[in-house]
Symmetry: D2
Subunit: 340 residues, 4 copies
C-alpha cells in the first residue's frame, strides 16, 4: 500500500483525495489545508472521513473555533506518507517542495506550478515512462490533460503532425467568487500555453492555438484541427475515440447539447459532486477539412486531471513501470470505461 497525502484541499485537492481513496493499492493518510474553508467545513460535517492537517500554524485557533479536528501539521503529514499530491494555490507548491525534499519524499504538483518545480512534466498516456521512479512530477493543466488524451489517441492510430486549437475556456468553477467575467469574451495572446505544453510533452507535434475565456462554469470546450501524417476517415477517428477508456463519445442528438449537459448528466449518474473523469467528444463535431480532422472536446475542469494524477503516483512510486499497465489499473479503480 502506497501511502499518499494531499496538500491543498480545494477544488482539485478534494477530488485527488477521493481518487486516491478509490485506489485499492493506495492509502490516503490525510489532507492538509490552511483554513476552515467551505471544503474543510464540509469534511467536518461529513464526519471527518479523512484526517485533517493544518498547513498554517497561525490559523490553529481559527480552525479549532470552527470545530475542525486537527491531526497535526503539514510536516507531520509529510513524514507519514510515501508521496504527496500538492494541489495548493499556484506558487505555494514550490515552497512546500522544501518540506517534501527535507523528508526525502516524492511529490506530484498540479498545472499551476512552474515546470521547473519538477523533474518531469507528466501525462499518463503520452509520457508515462518518463515519470517512472522520478521524485518530483508536474501534471499538465486540465485543458492540456484532456487535449493530450485526444491528440495522443489519434497519434497512436495515424500519427499527428500538427494541431491548431481553439480553447473556449470556462472562466470560473461553480462556487468561485474570487474570479469571474460578466457578459464578455476575453482573448489571450496566442499561442496559448496549452499548445506550448502539448509540444513539451509531445515534441514531435507542432501545436499552436488561441484561447478565449467565456463566462461559464461547466467545462471548457476545445476545437482541434489536427493534421495527420496520412488521410484518416471520420469513421476511423470515431472508432479510435470510442476505444479509449478516458474518452466518452457523445451525441447532440441524444441530448448532449453542450458542456452543461455533461455536468447535468454526471449529476444524474450520481457521481460524487457531479464529476466526470472522462473528456467528451461530440460525434457530430467531427468533420474533415481537406486531409485535416476537426472535432470538439469537452473538458470537465474540476475532475479531469484525477486519473492522470493517479497514473503519476504509479509511475513515480514504480507501482507499474509500464504505461499501459499503469493507466489500466487507474482506470479499473476509477471505474472508467465501464459505462460502454
Amino acid at each position: 500500500m502506497v501511502k499518499v497525502g494531499v496538500a491543498g484541499y480545494g477544488v482539485i485537492g478534494q477530488r485527488l483525495a477521493d481518487g486516491v481513496a478509490l485506489q485499492k493499492d493506495m492509502e490516503l493518510v490525510g489532507v492538509a489545508d490552511i483554513a476552515p474553508t467551505l471544503a474543510v467545513r464540509a469534511l467536518k460535517e461529513k464526519g471527518m472521513p479523512y484526517k485533517f492537517y493544518n498547513s498554517l500554524p497561525e490559523n490553529q485557533k481559527l480552525l479549532e473555533d470552527a470545530g475542525i479536528p486537527v491531526s497535526g501539521t503539514l510536516e507531520d503529514l509529510v513524514q507519514q506518507v510515501d508521496i504527496m499530491l500538492d494541489a495548493t494555490s499556484a506558487g505555494i507548491g514550490a515552497k512546500n517542495k522544501e518540506i517534501y525534499a527535507k523528508y526525502n519524499k516524492k511529490a506530484i504538483f498540479q498545472g499551476g506550478e512552474k515546470n521547473s518545480v519538477a523533474d518531469v512534466f507528466f501525462h499518463g498516456y503520452a509520457n508515462y515512462e518518463k515519470g517512472v521512479g522520478k521524485q518530483f512530477l508536474k501534471l499538465t493543466s486540465c485543458n492540456t490533460t484532456g487535449l493530450i488524451r485526444a491528440v495522443d489517441c489519434l497519434d497512436r492510430v495515424v500519427g499527428i503532425e500538427k494541431v491548431a486549437i481553439t480553447i473556449i475556456r470556462r472562466v470560473a468553477d461553480p462556487g468561485d467568487y474570487h474570479r469571474g467575467l460578466t457578459n464578455a469574451l476575453q482573448i489571450d495572446k496566442a499561442p496559448n500555453h496549452q499548445a506550448v505544453d502539448l509540444m513539451t510533452i509531445m515534441p514531435h507535434i507542432n501545436a499552436t492555438g488561441i484561447l478565449v475565456h467565456t463566462p461559464v462554469t461547466h467545462g471548457h470546450i476545445i476545437t482541434v484541427v489536427a493534421t495527420p501524417k496520412k488521410k484518416i476517415s471520420k469513421d476511423e477517428v470515431l472508432k479510435a475515440f470510442n476505444s479509449h477508456d478516458r474518452i466518452r463519445v457523445v451525441r447532440i442528438a441524444d441530448g448532449f447539447l453542450g458542456n452543461a449537459s455533461l455536468f447535468r448528466y454526471a449529476r444524474d449518474l450520481g457521481n460524487p459532486r457531479g464529476d466526470m473523469y472522462e473528456i467528451a467528444i461530440w460525434e457530430e463535431s467531427i468533420v474533415e477539412s481537406g486531409n485535416d480532422i476537426m472535432f470538439a472536446i469537452n473538458i470537465p475542469q474540476e475532475s479531469v486531471v484525477i486519473p492522470e494524477t493517479m497514473d503519476a503516483i504509479r509511475a513515480a512510486m514504480e507501482m507499474q513501470t509500464n504505461g499501459a499497465e499503469g493507466v489500466a489499473i487507474t482506470n479499473k479503480y476509477l471505474g472508467m470505461g465501464k459505462w460502454k
Copy 2:
C-alpha cells in the same frame, strides 16, 4: 409500505424518486417518462435502480433503440401503486389525473399545475392537516415552499401580519438549454404568484412582492420584509431559524458568499447531485426595519420541494394524521437537521 410511483423523470421527478427511496415506510414502484432523455439514459447507465415505464406508447421504439429497459406503460405503473407523484411538465398533470382517477389512486402534483387540479394546495408545515386523507394534493412551487418554511417559522413564534418579498430568481437549472436569459434582469408584473400562493396557504397573512429574474442557475434568493404582530429581536429570530430542521442558518463570514457557495458546499458534502433539502438564511442578512424584520433566504430550486412532497404522501395516505409527526418522520429519513 406505501407504494409510490413517479410520473415525469426530470429535474424534480428524479429527486422525488430518490426521496421516496429513502423513506423506510415507502416503496418506490417505478418511474415513468416519455423519451430517452439524459435523465433516463443516466438511469440506464446506473443499471436501472428504478423500473422504468413508458408514458408515450408511440415512443416505444425510440426507447428501445436507446437500450432503455421498459417495464410497461404509465397506466401499468399506476395500477401497482397507492399514490402517484406527478412531476410532468405543466399541464400534463391535469391530463394524467384522468388515469389516476380511473384507477381511484391518489396523486400529488407539483407547482406548475393549476390549483384546480387538486383538492388542496399543500405545504407540510403550514397546512398539513388540510391534506390528510385527500385524494389530490398540489405542492407549492420551489420559491413558495421555501418562503413559507421561513414565514411559518416566525409566525409560530410571534405571529406575522404581512410580508413584502423580493424574489431574485434563478432563471434556469444547470443543464437547461430550453430557457435562459443573457446579461439581463427581467421584472414580472407585481404582485408575484408566490405572494398570492402564500396567502392561499396562510390566509391570515397579507403578502405582496416583486420578482426579478437573473441569469444564474444555482438557487433563488428571496428578501423578506416581515411585519410581526409585536416587536421581536434579531436574536429571537435567529434562534427560531436555528431550531428549524429544514432551515440552515449560514454566515458570509464562514464563506457562504451567495447561492453558488451553497451549491458548492452541497457538492462537497457528497450529497447526490449536489442537492440540498434545506433553505439557507444568512445570519448577516437579518436586520430590523422599525418593528419589521428583514432577511434573505436561499432556495435550492431543484430539491427544496422534496421534503414537503414526502409530507404530502404522509398526509394523503394518512400515514401520520398529525403534521408535527408527519414532518418529523420525513426529516428523519431525509437526514435533515442531523448536521446541527
Copy 3:
C-alpha cells in the same frame, strides 16, 4: 461661465465631461487621466474634442507613443479651472484633493471616496442648500443617487418614515474586465451602505436593506418598501413619479421587460453611449403592502449621477443658491423630461 475640469476620464469621467459640455453656463477646460486607456484612445480618434492633461508624469512617454496630444499636467489643468470634478479610482481623489486645496479650487468627488474627503455629502434634490458655497462636495453613489430621487419624490408628497430596500446590483459595467461574477448571486452584509448613505442625506428617514450582486452589466434594480406617514394610493404614487423630471415611468406592457430593455431603448434613442440620465420605475411594479408602498427602480449606473453632479457644481459655485432653480437649469441643459 464657470470653468470646469475633470480628473479621471473613465466610465464616469467621460460622462461628466460630456454633461458639462452641455451646460450653457459652464466651460469644460479639459480632462485628465494617467494612461492611454481605451477612453483616451477614443478621445484621440474623435479628434480631441476635449483637451487632455496627464496626471502621471512618468507615463508621458507612454501617452506620446500612443499619439495622444497632451496639453499639460493635472496641476496645469487645476490652475485654469474654478472647480474640478474628480472621478478617479477610489482613494485617488483624497490624494488629488491636496492639489485642489493648494490652488484653493473647489472640487466634487464621486461616491467611491470616503465621506471625510468632503465638507458635505450631496444630492441635488434632497439637500442642495447644504452644498451651496462649499469647497468640497461628495456625490452619492449611483444606487443611492437614484434611490434618493424616488424616495425624496414620495417624501415631498406624503412624508416617508422608513424604507427597506433590496438592491439587485449589476456587478460590472459593459466592457469591464477587471471585475466580474459568473453564474452566481453574491450577498453583502446587511444593512447595505446605500441605506446608511440615505440616512446621512435624509436623517429623518429610517432605512435598511440587503444587497445582492448579480452577473449582469446593464442597470441595478432596487425594490423599495416605503412606509409613508399616512396612507397613499397607488395612483397618487404614480402621479408623483410621473411629475418628476428625473424619473421615467415605464411599462412592462410597452416592452420594458427589464434593465436591458432600458439600455436598448437609450441606444435606439441615439443617446450618446446609450446612456440615460433618468431612473426608471415600472408602473406594474407598484403595489400596496398594507399602508406600505412597494415598487422597483432601474438605475443606469454609468450615467445616473451626471445630473446631480451638475447640480453640485451649481451649488458649490453658487450659480443658483436655491435647489429648485439649480436642478431646473441642469434639467433644461440635459434635456430631461422633454420626452414626456
Copy 4:
C-alpha cells in the same frame, strides 16, 4: 437619388435605415414595422426622423394608441421606393417578396431568409459583380459577412485553399428577452452554416467549422485556420488586414481585451448605439501553424452587415457596376477607414 425603404425596424432594420440616411446618393423614404415596439417608440420620442408605415393593418389601432404617427401601409411604402431592404423576422421576407414583385421593385433580404428567396447570395467584396442589376439579393449573415471580409482579404494577397473556423457565438443581442442561454456553452452540428455559406460565395475555397454558442451579447469571435496557396508571413498577413477599410486591427496590449472592449470603445467613440461597422482582428492572435495562418476576428453582430447591404443597393441599382468602386463609395459615406 435612389429611393430606399426598410421593412422591419428591429435591430438590423434601424441600422439599415441609419446607414441609408448617410449615403448622399440615396434617399430613405420610410421604415415599416408591425407594432409599437421599443424601436418604434424610440423613433417617436426622437420626433419621427423617418416616416413610419404599418405592415400589419390589424395593428393600426395599437399603433395609434401608442401615439405613433403612421404614414401608410407597407404597400404604400413599396410603391414610393426603388428598392426595399427587408430586415423582417426570418420567413416574413419571403412573404413580403410578393409585394415587392407585384410592384416590380428590387429588394435585398437579410441572412435569416432562405437562399431561394433571392437571385443571388451577395457579399460586397467577394462577389459584387454577381449582384449587378439583379432584382432580389440576399445578404450573408453577420458572421459570414465578417468572416468573408477577412478571408477575401487574404485570398486576394496569397490565394486561400481552405479554412477551418471556430465560431464562438454571442447568443443574444443586448436587450433581447426572447432568447438567451445561462451558464452554458452549446454546440451545433458541424459543419456550421457559415462555412457552407462561405463556399457558396467563394466556391474555390474549401471551408468547414464548428460553432459554439456562449452566453454573451457583445460580438462573436471567430478563430480561422487558413491554408494559403503558398507560405505567407505573419507580417504580410498583418499588412493586408491593416490595408482593409472594413477591418480594424487592434491590440490586447492597447486594452482591447475581448468583444466587450470593442463595444465599449465604439460607445466611447460616440458612434450611434455604440455600433461599429468594422470587424476587428487581434494582432496578438495571428500565429503560424506550419504553412497555415491562424487568427481571431471580432464580429459586431448588430451592425456588421450594414456596409455590405449598402454595397448591395449599389449593385442591384447599378449605381456602380464595378465592385471596387461600389464598396469605396459605401466606405466614404459610412466614414470607414478614416480612423487610420
